[in-house]
Symmetry: C2
Subunit: 411 residues, 2 copies
């Protein structure tokens, strides 16, 4: 391994993410303005966004009180009133459309040693919602409840707990069949199990509603927390001159973009892949949006497709043939990663560390590209999730990044 | 497969266990008297019991108010005041010493189709307690709290829920790395996740204490529930003339006993095995009680050692060499079981059903005996758990049962 990559990997794996607070975006995202709207994936203009992301912009305009109705929202979205930027540019990540704006509460994850922080919004639960571009009164009411009731409670919980160490929790979830991208059953259940008593103590009469929101049919609740933890690890590893280690993979539904440690802030993009997977009843490939969301930060940290061998039960959900697909995918990822994570282990592989630190050079050498476990969003605003599957990235962005790195190094 | 065994297996796997209530033993165990004390394993006289079980008898005498101090408890335990009987004789099961008496609250599990019921006491939590033969004021206070506060709340919860279907919950736990004998992390977490809201609703100010008791560091909470479910399946399968399918495996710390379907109520015993395993720091084999507890009912139903391939993370806890031990153990159990459970699947084995319906004939033919995942109790009363490991049963009881069955059938 080259020294630069070794250093980047060391920083990635040394991250010690602690969930410390929940705060409105405006209080924690430096440089955010009330009219700066953050979205998943690499940069994109409003006119080019996929319909779910455009719908999410309308929803955010209504949610922020910037537009009083959908007509005004449609006008404002396109007339230059709003500045659009990737979540990634503000130290944040968001699943699906990833829309993140001024008043929205964010999970705050802090690295114990350095104090560096990363952020992600809070899961809205199953079904449609802002993240799928829906803007019904029900969705807006839920966002208001999350902002006004849930977020202050979670903030108090986390401050009274003195933060929640996420590495042991994520390690335990891996030992319980999560790969932490499309399966967060265990992470979510452990969160409720460990802290339900404290929520009951703090929330009093509101505990029922809060515990029902988190606990009932909301298995991906933990994903957003894990995403912030992995964004933190990736950002800590970013900016090592000469390193081709991947520090971001993100999709906006039109393009997929990657970033590498040696070229911080630069996106290398290609058309977002179509996802191979299993469609829910009544939906087909024709209903699918191209690959969407910042949740591929999980694979950047060694979870999701990388850790699939830990989660054999997921294969049916993703439309894969059998448990062998889970093992094979993890084995493939070992071929393109720089190392094995010292804290995140896969029991079924005799506690081998997860493959982590995707190396753009090895991707180009082997022709093996990262596999992302992912939800499939509808290509219509507000229609929600139409399936789940595995997304195989194109090789071009990795080759482009390598060429740019060589140029930067004067090679 | 012989017709009798096929019928027994069909009844075992057709069980549809629903957790319907929590009731004091005196209200649900037919024929129980205030001075009938139930214990784990096959029948045993007080004088022959291992020290933890004798300690548990003292604890129960104090807990029931039959003895006013330990001196009186010691006298009463041995002077004929108390009648001892296996839990199994009353449709119940109990982990470790399994002491179950008049006022103790029991989980009530009902078969949906037949209305048949089975019972198990409620887990006291980690550390010492009644089940390890401890009788401190702290243990007695906890038993009183469980009886007076926890049990009525759980009863109300279950009645308002209309019962909780256990088969889907156990199937999900298997897909989350539990084998449901020595690993109930997922079963317990799912219980809290699914019902914390309802506990908060019912318990009001007491919710904090209840959720702390169930949720914090109490990963085996679900075991007792799963034991009652498997006792139910075993009892439904019991009494098929001619069948050599095992319907009970239980240890009292001195002897292990098995029962087979074709000879209901008859125990075939041998000295309880010493458990191969990993001792907690400060303990050695010299501190260990022989194999103890009714929890081997889990293996009778296809869990525990049978389902170990679902729980590779458990190998370290049990002192086994690697994940291969988990796969190998399940493979061995396929060789001595009558079939694969249609509802309980192992994702890592491409969703193969768990090996279930241990066949005494196949045990004798192959020389492979059931492997039990188990806790290792101290051989001292009140000292608690000293390790965990795998217990390989002796072959003699299976051979004895087969001979007796042949005799019964006039062969």
């Amino acid at each position: 391994m080259r020294n630069a990559d070794a250093l980047a990997l060391e920083r990635l794996t040394a991250a010690d993410p602690v969930l410390v607070d929940v705060k409105p975006a405006c209080e924690v995202l430096e440089g955010l303005s009330p009219t700066t709207f953050l979205h998943a994936g690499p940069p994109i203009a409003f006119a080019d966004m996929c319909p779910p992301m455009q719908g999410a912009v309308y929803c955010a305009l209504l949610n922020e009180g910037l537009a009083k109705d959908i007509g005004q929202a449609r006008r404002m979205a396109a007339d230059g009133s709003i500045t659009y930027a990737p979540c990634h540019s503000f130290g944040a990540v968001g699943p699906m459309t990833g829309l993140t704006t001024w008043s929205m509460p964010l999970w705050v994850v802090e690295d114990r040693a350095t104090g560096r922080r990363s952020y992600a919004n809070i899961s809205e639960g199953v079904g449609v919602g802002l993240r799928f571009g829906e803007y019904s009164p029900k969705t807006l009411e839920r966002l208001a409840w999350m902002r006004e009731e849930l977020a202050p409670l979670l903030s108090r919980l986390l401050r009274e707990e003195g933060g929640i160490e996420l590495a042991p929790l994520m390690a335990q979830a891996l030992s319980m069949g999560d790969e932490l991208h499309m399966r967060n059953h265990a992470g979510t259940a452990l969160f409720v199990k460990n802290y339900a008593w404290h929520i009951a103590k703090l929330a009093g009469e509101k505990a029922e509603q809060v515990l029902r929101f988190i606990g009932v049919g909301h298995d991906q609740f933990f994903l957003n927390i894990a995403m912030a933890a992995n964004k933190l690890a990736a950002d800590l590893a970013d900016g090592v001159p000469g390193s081709a280690m991947v520090t971001a993979i993100a999709r906006n539904g039109v393009e997929v973009g990657i970033r590498i440690s040696g070229l911080p802030g630069r996106w290398f993009t290609a058309p977002a892949p179509e996802v191979e997977g299993l469609y829910f009843p009544g939906f087909t490939r024709a209903d699918a949006c191209r690959d969407l969301g910042d949740s591929a930060i999980m694979e950047v940290g060694g979870f999701g497709g990388c850790a699939m061998a830990a989660a054999p039960a997921i294969v049916k959900f993703l439309g894969a043939s059998g448990a062998e697909t889970a093992r094979k995918t993890t084995q493939d990822m070992y071929a393109i990663t720089l190392g094995r994570h010292p804290r995140y282990q896969i029991p079924a592989l005799d506690f081998a560390g997860t493959p982590c630190g995707i190396d753009a050079a090895r991707v180009v050498e082997t022709g093996i590209t990262p596999v992302l476990n992912t939800a499939i969003a509808s290509n219509q605003a507000g229609a929600g999730m139409v399936g789940a599957g595995m997304s195989t990235l194109p090789a071009e962005p990795f080759a482009d990044a390598l060429r740019a790195l060589a140029e930067e190094m004067g090679i």
